[in-house]
């Protein structure tokens, strides 16, 4: 399937809408209409251009936002679940574990334990080569063997 410039611009409109309203319940038919496309066509072009479905995209955004809030806020897991757009803590936790390998609580505990300052991202959050070269983080022996 070849996507032309006009289709690309249209599907970007819908994607931008999803990005801006990730925490809200949405009807894909409405998003497609916003993009001046049918629902079927929107999904097809979206997957072709971005390599994932609109549902996969919105899940990714929600989980990334949850990861940020888990590290930089003291909000409860329930609050974060709702803030990023999930109504079921069970579904949220399952998806979170699937994406990160950790439960939300484990993720928070692990990242916060690594950070020197409260509610900040630990240096381990960025690739070690950058951490080392840009501000002198020491390489662990296991990293250089």
């Amino acid at each position: 399937m070849t996507v032309n410039h006009t289709q690309y611009k249209k599907v970007c409109l819908g994607r931008d809408y999803l990005t801006q309203h990730y925490a809200l319940a949405f009807d894909l038919a409405d998003v497609a209409t916003y993009s001046c496309m049918s629902k079927y066509h929107f999904c097809r072009v979206f997957s072709e251009v971005f390599g994932e479905s609109p549902y996969q995209y919105i899940s990714k955004i929600r989980i990334e936002r949850a990861k940020e809030l888990l590290v930089t806020s003291q909000r409860s897991i329930n609050d974060i679940c709702e803030l990023v757009g999930y109504t079921s803590i069970g579904s949220f936790s399952v998806l979170f574990r699937k994406k990160t390998g950790l439960s939300p609580t484990q993720y928070r505990t692990k990242l916060q334990a690594l950070a020197n300052d409260p509610l900040t991202h630990p240096i381990q959050s960025i690739p070690m080569c950058y951490a080392h070269r840009l501000f002198g983080a020491k390489l662990e022996k296991s990293n250089i063997e």
């Binding site: 690309y8 900040t120 630990p122 959050s125 960025i126 950058y130 840009l134 501000f135």
Partner: protein, 137 residues
């Protein structure tokens, strides 16, 4: 076997201004914008259709990586246009060029036919040039 490229560094003069350019003018999305221990800002952007390749917008500053003299030299080279941010592909060079010009993006070469496609050359707001290319079919 190396399978893909995940991060490429682009040195910029000011991260806030670079973010405005890459996000609001080129239409890139923010991958990560976070301040880690020590106050270092880890800022990455990516093209919407290619989320697995992130540009790290990094300011050359005095620190473990650069002496003050080296950081100053890098900044001067960036401002002088010595570095390029790479080739950005588009399905329609002329249309994208017109859209970017309307947003105030500076170009040093308008869309021009090349044997490999149509290419325009732009400059980001730090001085890095970039190619806007529509591949020949």
């Amino acid at each position: 076997m190396i399978q893909s490229i995940a991060h490429v560094t682009v040195y910029v003069l000011n991260q806030d201004e670079a973010l405005d350019f890459y996000q609001n003018k080129l239409g890139f999305e923010v991958g990560t914008d976070m301040t880690v221990d020590g106050g270092f800002r880890w800022l990455t952007v990516f093209a919407k259709a290619q989320p697995d390749l992130e540009l790290v917008l990094a300011e050359p500053k005095e620190g473990p990586m650069f002496t003050k003299d080296a950081a100053d030299k890098i900044r001067a080279l960036v401002a002088d246009g010595a570095f390029g941010a790479g080739v950005f592909e588009t399905a329609n060079c002329q249309k994208t060029y017109e859209e970017l010009v309307a947003k105030g993006v500076e170009f040093i070469q308008p869309p021009t036919e090349q044997f490999y496609g149509v290419e325009a050359l732009g400059v980001d707001n730090s001085g890095n040039w970039f190619s806007l290319t529509q591949r020949a079919k």
